[in-house]
Symmetry: C2
């Protein structure tokens, strides 16, 4: 796995072409570390995100394609059309493991087709085929994958865009198929799908037939470390019990109880309808309808936080909607109907849209008077406009900031133009620091301070006060950048943060596999290096310290029930990476 | 004229209220100098432009309300919803002179009404009346002014917003009535109308009945200086002949001949249909249909560069469309039909939209495939969508950058989100420097290097080369900030730049009127001070040096017929105010 596959969609003769090369200066990097390194070095920071100079970098993790647990995340990096800065969005599903087995550390889409031609790309152990695919035009991800399955069989994985990516909308995703060959796992944030669309690539079909599991340098040590790692995950309450039983949506009751659950477009921190859409209710519903409440999204997952959500008639509707999705389409829009939320999730996956951005956008549209809070039919209709490609749909599909601008809404919960996720920054101030200062725009995963703020994981910091939040967020952002660069599922962080021996097992796995001698300090240093690269890119793209801020109203409007405002000062925010 | 009228639309009890105060620390400032000083000091740079903390400052010039020639410009300043930075847009028409006679140096709209109530404000010598005006809701400026005229008679002036401002669209204007009480003069750029809309103010009616001309401190000196000033304007070829005869549209043939006329969304520098829409053809058409080819927009104008454009049946359609408008809706959209352009101008004035932003937006929409270049009926229909308030109309009314984003267009000619005017920055590189570095976003009036680049006014600098452009643009930007701060029509600059005695006459007028002893150096220093204030505001709002750049494609794509790219380096751009 030491090759980069570079696919130039606007080759010298105007035809797509490809070449492979060794990792070279990027050796030793994977996942976010690799995507950010390539983007920071090769993409002009002031280029148009949809132009020929931007690149879309798709990179599995350091252990993808191995028997290592949780190693199947796929990083997608680019200059974001949403934020204008560097972006790494990652997803589960099957492609990472298969790309790893094919020996690619990264697939880089470069250039731009001269005409508006749509292509599909097949990558297998022998070749790379880039062919025109007019028949796939404006298909949703579900129909698209059905076609791919019909042609290439039931063992391939697919990386694709839906209508939103083809329309180059800034809330569009890159979809990855899961173990059931469904397009349910998305590199969702920052409009990465629009960049894939601008390259004219509708689908990348990954076929690892004839390849075998990647082999560690030290097989025994690797096996042993992997075993300890899995044990660590199983014994931690979050990764061993909470997540498997209820999925990420276990958080609804927790966050709502904490008064940090953004409701009605970030107006209050508690939602009356929370119980009806909680993980507990969701799991019960799934089981009662013959779906699964516990399920993995990729080979090698041992946490298995996903599930399948069937409709009332017992037919598959969508994968188990994540906490963020349930919140975005649920509480934040005043909607307490799980079936409606599942339908919205299904539509997002099909069109290829970021559920967080869409939920926040719809709540902003509700603030603008386009629909009543709680009106789930109106919410579904708004989302369907995106699929139809109407002007209204294009507005919605361009995200919360743009929608707010078009409709003259003042309260728009974004940072660097990206919508805030499911934690009110006034009631989880550590996450507020992450929203403000992350290189990615408002992003909970970039430094998930919910851990020490609400969950008592990795320490305890009062969520309602500014004290200690800067240090908490900073450390988590470095750790996250490191974990994202291993390509491991971020959920391992719960166990890794709490259990030193599980963290050591992770390092041992990587060392045993690659024949390295990394220490814990090296891992932290890697995270620091990645963030430094990203911040440098953003600076060259024109970001200033004023971009590391929450919208003013979080400082001026108190959030019930705690009635607190965001108390971390601008100077403190500047000290996070200052 | 030493009073500020402050109108708080969200007074302490939620009801609008007003108070007057003396100029205080702002004494000695007028026009842009005053609006920028108030905005820079009183508006939090990171506030939402449509929020209660933003202010809309309306200021006449230092000599408005006097018998001084050309003294009737009205400055409108705010934090721009389009650029996110400080904004001063100015307009001719009657209000400035009348506000001057009423003794107000500035009217400041503050706060925000609690409910979505629409108000009108009457200002006369005795009182300020703020009354609810639900009957004016969503009226175009023409219908609105008819209602105002019906109620307040034919002598009042009106400052108003059309549908676009009420919808808070970022391309919306603040309209001023002209001498015929038509809403044809607009403070057009940067979405100032949206801020007026966010304050809930539909119209400000100015009634100067019972007031008299403001009296100079030294009447004789003032009269003498004014006489010399007018003589200077009359004897200069541009202000004495070209502008009166053909209006600003005299430039179409000049700029097209120079290969600097942006055509088909800034793809070439020369337009085949230029002759059909030139100032010469326009004046001929106007005269033949019983309109006027020469006409002033405000009392005290001696250049008289405007006119009236009648339809084929001889009925008034619109005021003489300006060069920028004819270009924006004409050549840049591939349209060579003057009647269609006049109709687009009329619609812009009626809805309250910036013609430059709209023309550029429609050309971007044409690039996106929404209409064919040259299809003027489609262009008219696109603009009518704005008046209807449809989602497509809201997109278009939000300007070129947003429209490009929504439709995934890569080539978007904006700086700081504001659309470029009618000079290709590759073929008039001095204007390119102004576009890039102006505090206002892409704005030709901020430092009109067309003078020395193409017109041979104020020196000669090769338009196709980077040499000398930085100094040219810098000096013009300082001079312009000074002239804008006097509140004089900027067109005096042609004569003032070329004829030292006319510049001296201007200074003598101000000195004689106010009892001052300003020198030419003081005037330049004023311009420098104003720009320093504005740059400081923008910096605090988050602008960095990367915001002082043209889009990359102007550096990479050569513009026919000269086939040059923009050659001024980033370092040179940083040296303009560095």
């Amino acid at each position: 796995m030491d090759k980069i596959l570079r696919i130039n969609m606007g080759g010298p003769d105007g035809e797509p072409s490809y070449r492979t090369e060794t990792l070279g200066e990027y050796a030793g990097l994977g996942g976010r570390g690799l995507t950010s390194a390539i983007v920071a070095k090769e993409v002009p920071p002031t280029c148009h995100p949809l132009g020929a100079e931007n690149k879309l970098v798709i990179a599995p993790g350091l252990l993808s394609g191995t028997s290592g647990a949780m190693s199947g995340r796929l990083s997608v990096g680019t200059k974001s059309p949403l934020t204008g800065g560097i972006k790494e969005a990652n997803a589960g599903g099957q492609p990472a493991q298969m790309i790893g087995r094919l020996g690619y550390a990264a697939i880089v889409l470069e250039g731009k087709p001269k005409e508006k031609t749509l292509y599909k790309i097949l990558i297998n152990k022998d070749t790379v085929e880039i062919t025109e695919a007019p028949d796939l035009k404006m298909l949703g991800n579900y129909d698209l994958v059905d076609r791919i399955k019909g042609k290439y069989g039931e063992k391939v994985a697919c990386i694709s865009i839906g209508q939103a990516g083809e329309m180059k909308l800034t809330a569009s995703t890159v979809a990855c198929t899961d173990m059931e060959q469904r397009p349910t796992r998305h590199a969702a944030r920052g409009g990465v799908g629009a960049v894939m669309g601008s390259k004219g690539v509708k689908a990348i079909v990954i076929d690892d037939t004839g390849t075998s599991m990647r082999s560690p340098k030290d097989k025994d040590k690797f096996r042993e470390a992997n075993k300890k790692f899995v044990e660590g995950l199983k014994q931690h309450a979050v990764t061993g019990q909470g997540l498997p039983a209820y999925g990420t949506n276990v958080l609804t009751n927790v966050v709502n109880e904490a008064g940090a659950y953004p409701t009605y477009n970030f107006k209050t921190g508690r939602f009356r309808g929370a119980a009806a859409i909680s993980g507990e209710t969701q799991a019960e519903t799934e089981t009662a309808r013959g779906g699964l409440a516990t399920h993995g999204c990729h080979r090698g997952c041992v946490i298995r936080c996903s599930g399948t959500y069937n409709d009332k008639d017992g037919h598959f509707l969508t994968k188990q909607p994540e906490y963020e999705t349930v919140w975005a389409h649920g509480g934040n829009c005043g909607i307490d109907n799980l079936d409606a939320i599942a339908m919205l999730d299904r539509l997002d996956d099909d069109y290829g849209l970021d559920t967080i951005e869409m939920g926040t956008t719809i709540s902003v549209a509700m603030d603008a008077g386009l629909a009543e809070f709680g009106d789930y039919e109106a919410a579904i209709n708004l989302l369907k406009e995106v699929g139809k490609g109407t002007p209204l749909g294009r507005i919605i599909g361009s995200g919360a900031a743009l929608t707010g601008k078009v409709f003259g809404v003042e309260r728009i919960p974004v940072v660097k133009n990206q919508a805030m996720p499911a934690y009110d920054p006034r009631a989880v101030q550590g996450v507020g620091v992450t929203y403000a200062t992350s290189t990615m725009g408002a992003d909970h995963t970039a430094g998930y301070a919910v851990t020490a703020n609400l969950l008592g994981v990795g320490g305890t910091v009062d969520p309602l006060k500014p004290e200690g939040q800067v240090e908490l967020s900073r450390n988590l952002q470095f750790a996250t950048a490191a974990i994202d660069s291993t390509g491991m599922c971020l959920f391992i962080a719960f166990a890794v943060l709490d259990q030193p021996e599980t963290f050591q097992a992770l390092i041992d796995m990587i060392n045993a596999f690659h024949g390295l001698e990394m220490t814990a300090e090296d891992v932290t240093a890697l995270g620091q290096k990645v963030i430094a690269m990203e911040r440098d890119f953003n600076k060259r793209a024109g970001f200033s310290k004023e971009d590391d801020r929450l919208p003013d109203y979080f400082k001026n409007e108190a959030c019930p029930p705690h009635n607190v405002t965001f108390g971390v000062t601008d100077e403190e925010l500047d000290s996070v990476f200052g």
